[in-house]
Amino acid sequence: MRLGHCVFVSVPAELTDSHARFLQETVSQRLSVADGVRGLVLDVSALSLIDSFAAKILGETASIARQFGVKGVLVGVRPSVAITLVELGIDLRHVETALTLELALEKLQLRIVSTDA
């Protein structure tokens, strides 16, 4: 879903590996042809767990976005998922994260709409 300069992606709860790859491809495709997109928000709040493969795909997607001049932000990582990621030794340091959608937009320095010109 696109809103202004930002693309929002809700990662589905039932994420198989092939779904994850498909999502990555679709998002990359969209970003490569879209004009004026500056931010990509990946909402993972539906995911009850993120294992190494899912983390890899998410990290890659953010890196791919950077190739198109788009900044990727990960939103909605659950606390227990965060703990597990750290213990698993997965480093998402190169991916921006934000607690909420609002903070993500702040990080992207974007406003959704400003109608009063």
Partner: protein, 214 residues
């Protein structure tokens, strides 16, 4: 030869009064008619949840149920039988299935974070099977000890085996497909793990995580 129902009947009568107790007995799940000590951990948990809720709602004033009494009546004082589930793994769908199965099996025994740890660990092992071996099997086992619940994972395949296992276990190996941390990371999520592998002979991984009974 005592059925669980007849073992819990005097306790429930005493606590709720016979009239309410009869009402509760009608709503109990089927396993209550089995023999004392014959249920699996999961069945015991389900039955206890049911009974404890009823006790909370309907206990007569001053007739609280002593904690542990119902459990002892159901299990005969010994740890309940282990629950074991086997899942064939041959696609990425199956990985999702064992993730969910782990979450269902650990719920109520392990905390939320432990549940995520275990589901993630199982997911890593199951994914390794379908990625590197094509097919295999994952067995999940929940068992009870006097002071703890134990979740065991057994992942078995007949695949090519894991080459240079020592390098992987040292943590400086990067595979082309994952983050190369699947096995090492999984070990960190468990209390203990053992890998048994040989080139061409497949891989057997066993691991467990335990939690003290509260």
């Amino acid at each position: 030869m005592t059925s669980i129902l007849s073992a819990i009947e005097p306790l429930m009568n005493e606590c709720l009064g016979p009239a309410s107790a009869v009402g509760v007995f009608r709503t109990l799940p089927q396993p209550v008619h089995q023999e004392v000590g014959s249920l699996t951990v999961v069945e015991v948990r389900e039955l206890l949840l049911h009974l404890e809720t009823s006790v909370r709602l309907f206990a007569r004033p001053g007739k609280a149920m002593a904690p542990g009494k119902l459990r002892d009546a159901i299990t005969g004082g010994a740890p309940a039988k282990a629950r074991e589930e086997r899942y064939p793994i041959s696609s990425d769908r199956d990985v999702l299935v064992v993730q969910r199965a782990t979450q269902m099996l650990t719920r109520g025994f392990f905390g939320i974070t432990d549940g995520v740890r275990l589901a993630t660990a199982v997911s890593e092992l199951a994914r390794n099977i379908y990625m590197y071996a094509g097919r295999g099997e994952v067995t999940l086992r929940l068992s009870e000890e006097p002071n703890a619940f134990v979740f065991g994972i057994f992942a078995v395949d007949q695949g090519p085996g894991i080459p240079h296992l020592e390098t992987i276990m040292k943590g400086d190996y990067r595979s082309s497909t994952g983050l190369g941390r699947g096995i090492v990371g999984t070990q960190a999520l468990l209390n203990s793990m053992h890998v048994d592998t040989a080139p061409g002979k497949g891989t057997r991984i066993t691991g467990e995580r335990r939690v003290r009974k509260s």
